[in-house]
Symmetry: D2
Subunit: 379 residues, 4 copies
């Protein structure tokens, strides 16, 4: 049973291989009468697009999206929205040498083991190119979130590259759009630039951590016990290429916290709702949104395509070595930022509709603002 769909009520199904004629998705469950055009979606695709700085793959793809259905005279009609992106820069010649050898750290071996066949060109279906479809779907999800009772904002940032973490005291969301790393601090961005130039010149690669924050989500989204909001976010992020870990709020740091430190105390807020004094929970308790900011972080492993020869086997089972040439991201975590945002938006759009189905109207919006300390990880 294949699994190329994501979401339940807001649901998208993607198709396409790295070097096939096109990639894209059908988004089903888009409410009618939402404004939608290609320019809006393109804006998000452009943030993820390769070739925009020396720190990402040099593959040239305009990633121009076309809406093939579901929109009439500028508005969604409630029918499936088909989004298609034609592949341009396929350069299959680069990939001849990986036809018969399995690249360590890539999905070459597992696809062969599972399916007994694989489109090796550029990683085929397992290529990070698939994430463009996610970003396109995420743009539609943002349109859905605009109809929520209060505006929902979804923003992401790179917060760690190798050993270098962002300086949280200098966090500035506006800065995220000003550097090639989606880094919320200019100083850290400069440091990363130097560091990554070294990685890149060594033909190596490095891991990273991405943080995505949603503000304005009302209390009440999430469907216990198995479709909890955090469960769906964990799945969403873990399915992004190269992701190896996901945490919510305090995350793994919670293992070292006492009950006193961890439980977010409450004071009376507006309309009888709580004003939370901290946000260790990352905006989710019992799998349901609290009204606070939803805070998710995920770890991205280093690109497995490097210039150092690595030991491997070929399709005949013989031992050999491989060097992965071609155009690759020295830190694939960078371009994972808009992908993480898109997945967050899709999960939230889905849960907005799910909550509306069950309860008929969304719950109240809590405070996303002042917390006792600024750091959800608890310092």
């Amino acid at each position: 049973m294949a699994g190329n769909s994501f979401g339940t009520l807001f649901r998208f199904t993607t198709f396409g291989e790295s070097h096939g004629p096109a990639i894209g998705c059908i988004v089903d469950g888009v409410p009618p009468r939402l404004p939608l055009d290609e320019a809006f979606i393109q804006g998000f695709l452009d943030r993820r697009r390769p070739g925009q700085s020396r720190f990402v793959t040099q593959r040239q793809e305009p990633d121009a999206v076309r809406i093939l259905s579901g929109v009439f005279e500028g508005l969604t009609t409630g029918t499936p929205v088909m989004l298609e992106i034609v592949n341009q820069d396929q350069r299959s010649r680069d990939y001849g040498e990986i036809r018969d050898r399995f690249r360590p750290g890539h999905a070459d071996w597992t696809y062969q083991a599972k399916y007994g066949i694989r489109d090796h060109r550029g990683g085929g279906r397992s290529s990070a190119r698939e994430t463009a479809s996610r970003v396109a779907a995420g743009a539609v999800a943002r349109r859905v979130l605009e109809t929520a009772p209060a505006p929902v904002t979804v923003r992401g940032a790179l917060v760690q590259v190798g050993p270098h973490r962002v300086d949280r005291a200098r966090w500035d969301w506006a800065e995220v759009e000003r550097n090639p790393f989606f880094c919320p601090d200019a100083g850290t961005a400069a440091l990363w630039a130097d560091y990554l130039d070294g990685v890149r010149k060594a033909g190596s690669s490095i891991g990273a951590v991405v943080e995505v924050v949603a503000s304005g989500v009302p209390a009440g989204w999430g469907e216990p016990i198995y479709d909890k909001l955090d469960g769906d976010l964990a799945r969403a992020m873990m399915t992004i290429n190269a992701v190896k870990g996901v945490e919510i709020g305090a995350g793994f740091a919670a293992a070292e916290l006492s009950g006193e430190e961890n439980a977010d105390e409450m004071r009376a807020g507006p309309d009888g709702q709580p004003l939370f004094l901290s946000n260790r929970a990352g905006g989710i308790l019992g799998g349901i949104s609290t009204g606070q900011d939803i805070v998710v972080r995920f770890a991205v492993k280093p690109t497995s395509s490097i210039l150092t020869p690595r030991r491997t086997i070929d399709t005949a089972g013989h031992e050999t070595e491989i060097v992965t040439k071609g155009r690759h991201d020295p830190c694939v975590g960078i371009r994972a930022v808009p992908v993480g945002e898109a997945m967050m938006a899709c999960v939230l759009a889905d849960h907005f509709l799910r909550h509306r189905a069950l309860v008929g109207a969304p719950g109240p919006v809590g405070n996303g603002g002042p917390v006792e300390d600024g750091d959800p990880v608890g310092g």
Copy 2:
């Protein structure tokens, strides 16, 4: 749209509140002609059962399971397996004071915000008592896994309590069953006993980290792009009460690894399959099992029920304080071990059937054994 089912082909649906008449689940998708009786399931429930040491809640529940359908003359029939556990020790009187006040860190406020109503007794549906149903379903999943091409073993251990991590050099799976912590090292277990006595006497609580390992899983399980094996495991673990983070293989440590360090090199193994020289991937590449051990870790926050008064509000929106008396786990991470195992077993059983549906027969088994270094986190 509620979400009380887990899995697609091997699928269970749970019901029940902490202080209602019963809890349990319907397991659908159980292949026919598997041996199954109550004693087999009971063995797993007993590992999770409360009241077994001074380090867990003192609630007395025999957690006796009854099979109400789907088994005939000792064998499954392919029809739904209904598992029921009658609640015994309900003692609702303990919970009167939380009827009108929201316990910080618990799901009291979010359930009220979402549903406009809640069964406050013992946390109602949000109580960790629900995890008994998961463990029962997990036992059935193990029966399914016995029919896989090679024996699949699922084992869990507690690897961190507060700041104290297990000594991995002394890891001994047999030790796990000999101490009240599911700790794989006797020395660490002794240290935790002292530490947790202090926590318990202070009326406090502490977080923890659990690790679950599956051995014998053949290469090929997992359904890209959205039902990847790691995505489903992340969701599975994140839906367990109090879990705030999940990682696979190197996990968050991968953020600091280079491409050279991270990619698991391959040599020729038996039958033309790879012998991996390390297992940073935690047994999953591209969302598909590699044939190596599958290694998942998850962080459990401290129990929010503590004896220190915490600031909160009541259902009328007034500010107040609360002390959560009653019977609670000072370290809820302990009893999360068998629950984590159960969820791993359920995810694997589901993907075993999914792979069989798509491809007709499972892929080859890789090596779960010798790796270049013993630590998947890469030291």
Copy 3:
């Protein structure tokens, strides 16, 4: 992949065999704060209960339902509603002779062929006893429909027994509750009583047709293209034991109609909505409700359990004969009436929630009333 769940947002999963300890269902997706108690559900179960007249099976079952979860202080909580019915009159001794012989027309052979094992007692899982769970779920669905923008009424009637069709000119819904056939005309009921006495005394059985009508459904329910309202109703009814055909509105008679006869013309109704001049469509166009009465009919085959010896084979493949003694319905179509109603209610509750999820509010209610001619079949 087993299939013991029905519905998407309003979703129930049933369990249990004819002669096991209990049957029942978990209903997930029940909105919170609906009044629900056992007495309400019991009322519907009592209509379907066996042993109420000489025209149905004499098995004595009180079919007493117990709510095990999801209701707190008389209101639903939004969590799963578990409904359990303990089996009383199991009398397994009646069924010894069918252990090794396949009853023609029953599912004995197909269950054996599919699963390689079967609980033969009373038909096991394939027994019509399972429909009690549907009726229980249907009662909950009615509670959901009470929250629709206008009251939705679901009523069923038996309209044909063998060659004898009901006199539609004398249709009186009140009469349905006054005779043992759910017949809307007393005269026809008297005729059926005589006819069925003959069938019963001959140890034979006969087929029937059931009609179910929903009034008050607003325009707009149904989800094209594959979850059309009529598609879901067709599936719902066809899964009821012994059903062999389903039709909507004019149904098979539409094959002989011209476009002029078939298309329901419209005049201006209240609030700018249409007043339809006929209802050949049975209240559904393009898979979406029109606001008119929704009219579904289904054909029920004769009970396969008869006293005439029939040729068959045994589990060893040898030719033999079988007479099905025991307690059976001479016309199983009678008790299918409340089951058909329940399935209609469940489909509508599901689509009410689905429409609410997608669009946020239900569409307008059309006219369910005056049509050009009284007969949706077009005379």
Copy 4:
């Protein structure tokens, strides 16, 4: 919650409007290593294509299909198969007059009521043009069925046009491909030609009945209780445009049969399997295939687009009249034959995979051959 996907394990999702840039589908769950190319799919699309005789719509569409993903070097890869058909003959000018008026019998009013917006051009999403996507998916399903334990053949025929039923005594499957009606008898085809010329010249339309038969299906496919094979077939056929009734085997005729007449007796067949003496059941008992031919019939209402003025209202709620000009099928039932076949193939492919998932291997093949009388309806 929208519903544009069909199937569970073999699952396709369609998109596209009658006059948008393209229509098509993503087929997910296609097993790897099946031969597939555009020519194979095109053969089935050509059978459904408009403009092939004077008895169907004159819209000119080559319906040329393109495979955009999921196939590598002539074989499926196990990844999503994207099939795209570009719309050519859009001629939107024909449809200007239906922008503001609701055509009786069409889905114009219900789409407006549900979504508050509609693409009126050619019926938009509700157009029968969508069925081309089903036929394309059905071609892929046939490839899947080729891997079943025995060859599965799916064939359809038109068996009734208005009052004129096919002469079953002269049934010849080969004749189906020789006349423009998919009629299995040349004499009946000639009669229909005359009859339909009259209908066409009168600017009217007429209903029809289609029969689809699957041979070679082994015993054991179908998933009780709610995903029974007949339930899924009923849903599949009822979602085809203009279908108002579905029946299996004896269908509605079963209402007039006695238990003796209806139950298909069994004799010993090869390999200990039954040789059925009749097939009233239409190849399905208890929702599971018996190994006999699976026989489904469905009623198609007359095209609602006719030249006689019909009373209706406009979008402002005012009373008016409408004549539907343009290019329409006088008997839309004709082109429903390949669509019905496609849906049967998709349902069977899905259940083949579902059965394989649950049981691991398909059950035995029964006899599809000699029955006591030739007519499943019991003549």
